[in-house]
Symmetry: C2
Subunit: 442 residues, 2 copies
């Protein structure tokens, strides 16, 4: 891309699914706009897919440029940039390596590849004098990577608080606003195409975790390996949690958080459902939308909101990266600013047990006298300070009654130890649900 | 800044007030971080101020680099970049021109200068082979200019909806949440330093208008002259408007809007207080914060939120621009992407009278029978379709009673004509208040 690039920029596109189709559509429909803006003409020269017949039938690109053969793809002359929107680690990782080894900059939407192999791939790009752009890997159409790498670069960032998965936010919104159960909301999300047939990657928090690792590595200038990040999904939430939350002024959000713990350089990175005060802006993010709150020492709180997935929103991020690549902006930033994790050490990640927070605790107890006394005694013995206890009248026919306890700031490990003891009480029916209470600044 | 920049980057700083002090503080305190990130050392070589004695006494920079003499400032050797945070058009405009003529890139927070002289200054920078960076001119610490110029560049943008002035948003928040009158809220804002002794620039909407012109010129790739932008302030709002709004599910926000009118290339640009549905994210922006909602054809709705003013937030934008300048990113973007208004034609701005919207209309009427009939008759004669009429019981001792009418979608010019006629009715006590009702997407 250096030294007077050609008037026409040849693109190799890997993947022609939801996002790839959106990329092809934008490049076709907005050709005049992009040419006017960059002075270059964009041309998709070759498309690599698994199922060539299906891709040819789609009509999204000319049939004669579609191939299922990687060798044919990489032998195509005049490819200046490779866009990878196929997803997955195998064989996609090897295709990205091959493009970089050929000296092509790569634009990718592949969160799982970057979260697990990012440092290696960034180093390869650097060695080959090219770059990797990856805005589309996190937050769909929201330019949040741009904000972290350029817009907020004057800041010492102390916290990221993200809603990074639209599927789970849709499910939580339905549970909160339409009073649906988790199973009902999941079924509805699947019917609308928001959730996959196997929703595990989304509802377990795994998808949000991968994105969080990418974002946190940029925010904190450090490598953050996904396998060290604790992650809890939304599967055990019940209507009653939303009801108690609402009563106390909280919404429930699956938050991906990365915080520099006060007083030292450790970073605490985790994904878990949290109580967030309803007046906090991020608590208002509804349905399939995503948002990222960033706390910088100079800016204070800034937030970035938008569609976190979908064909055209994600393609918007890919094509914006393409235009930044074509104009030399992305390559200059990658080469001259030290944000990519290949240049940084692994972050010292603090064990979540050693962090402190207020918590919400929901127990299912037999409806008999003395349970509250037993539970609060154990919490007291561990030094857990209680801020509130709520126990509504039990519904007819229910053998167990939810007992809700909120705590003041407490070491998470201490709380978990107390809860392990509480769990053994004969009166406690199932594993308690523990939600962190996160207080965000205005 | 081209051709292997020096290891040490010399900075000339114009202005050492609230923002300039923040810039000096960041460059001093975060020196190691910035050097690590860019590989360059930042050094403020000279500071130009009006009152040298005051600046020297501030201790923000070494006394011996402070001068009140522009000739001494521009004669300083080793200045690679000029930062202008003095504000105003005279003499600041000439200082910026001089820096550009000397071949220095300029980073500025000066909204009024750019809104009125932007095209000329950008053209001068281009002719001299340098660039102007101006993130700090709009939205304080929010990287919204970066979003429009790079992050969303794949999009055909159809709308901007911004809360671009923190002072007025603070006043509106106090009126909405604390039940204060306009006068009380303004006084409070002044006591807290949110509003100037002469608050006209803020409360009239003029400040928001200047920022809107800069943002809209980037979003629509066109020059937008402030003198063609209709602008209405918040001075005539009363508690009763907030009460009626709340009853109907709306918040009142001073919105700076720029919309591409459906069906043609015209842009409609205006600043005015609006009803915004309370469930819209932008309606939740409280106090001195700013937000910008952008509607792109690919991304859909994205929003950018944060502190819109203040020393360190604004300095964050200035210093982030500085780091982008030092790394070559800002210069590459300015030279190779066609966003700056010097390269674009003047936008065909549509007369707001020709646009359509639903509206809220508040009249003060004598409390006697028949007024509603008179008013609704006139609206009907003009073809204005009414969606609701509200008239609460009058407070004791009040001679006039507010009469509130909401309309369906109507041509603004038609409504204004009807209102001009209503205003002449004997029963109508003062000039009616007209608020636009803006429905934003999720």
């Amino acid at each position: 891309m250096k030294n007077s690039p050609p008037q026409e920029i040849g693109i190799g596109l890997i993947g022609l699914g939801t996002v790839g189709g959106g990329v092809a559509q934008l490049i076709k429909e907005e050709a005049a706009r992009y040419e006017r803006s960059t002075g270059k003409r964009l041309a998709i020269r070759r498309v690599l897919v698994r199922d060539a017949a299906k891709a040819k039938a789609s009509g999204l690109v000319a049939a004669d440029i579609v191939t299922a053969d990687p060798d044919a793809f990489f032998a195509t002359p005049g490819v200046d940039v490779v866009i990878e929107v196929a997803g997955g680690i195998k064989p996609t990782g090897d295709l990205v390596r091959r493009a970089l080894n050929d000296g092509k900059p790569v634009i990718t939407a592949n969160k799982s590849l970057l979260a697990t192999h990012g440092p290696e791939l960034f180093a390869l790009a650097r060695a080959k004098g090219v770059h990797i752009s990856f805005e589309a890997s996190c937050g769909g159409g929201i330019p949040c990577i741009l904000a972290l790498t350029l817009g907020l670069q004057a800041n010492n960032i102390s916290g990221l608080y993200g809603i990074l998965n639209g599927t789970t936010n849709y499910i939580l919104s339905q549970m909160a606003n339409a009073g649906q159960s988790y199973a009902e909301a999941l079924k509805g999300a699947q019917a609308l195409g928001f959730a996959e047939a196997d929703p595990t990657m989304d509802v377990s928090g795994e998808d949000a975790k991968q994105k969080l690792c990418i974002l946190a590595s940029l925010a904190f200038g450090a490598r953050i390996a996904p396998d060290k990040v604790p992650c809890e999904g939304i599967e055990r939430l019940e209507k009653v949690d939303f009801n108690y939350g609402a009563e106390m002024g909280y919404a429930i959000k699956l938050l991906a958080t990365a915080e520099r713990w006060p007083g030292h350089q450790w970073v605490c990175v985790q994904v878990r459902p949290c109580f967030v005060r309803k007046s906090a802006l991020i608590a208002q993010v509804q349905g399939g939308f995503n948002a990222l709150s960033v706390i910088g020492h100079a800016t204070g709180h800034t937030m970035y909101y938008g569609a976190g997935a979908g064909s055209l929103p994600t393609a918007s991020a890919v094509v914006s990266d393409l235009l930044s690549t074509v104009s030399g902006v992305a390559g200059t930033a990658f080469a001259n600013l030290r944000f990519a994790p290949d240049l940084n050490e692994e972050a010292p990640v603090v064990n979540t047990a050693d962090t402190e927070s207020p918590f919400y605790l929901r127990l299912k107890a037999n409806d008999r006298p003395g349970v509250i006394a037993q539970v609060t005694r154990i919490l007291g013995e561990h030094g857990v300070s209680i801020s509130g206890v709520l126990q509504h009248t039990v519904a007819k026919g229910e053998a167990h009654v939810p007992l809700v306890i909120t705590t003041h700031q407490v070491r998470q490990g201490t709380l978990e130890k107390a809860v392990a003891e509480i769990e053994k009480l004969e009166a406690i029916a199932e594993k308690p649900v523990i939600l962190r209470i996160v207080e965000l600044p205005a």
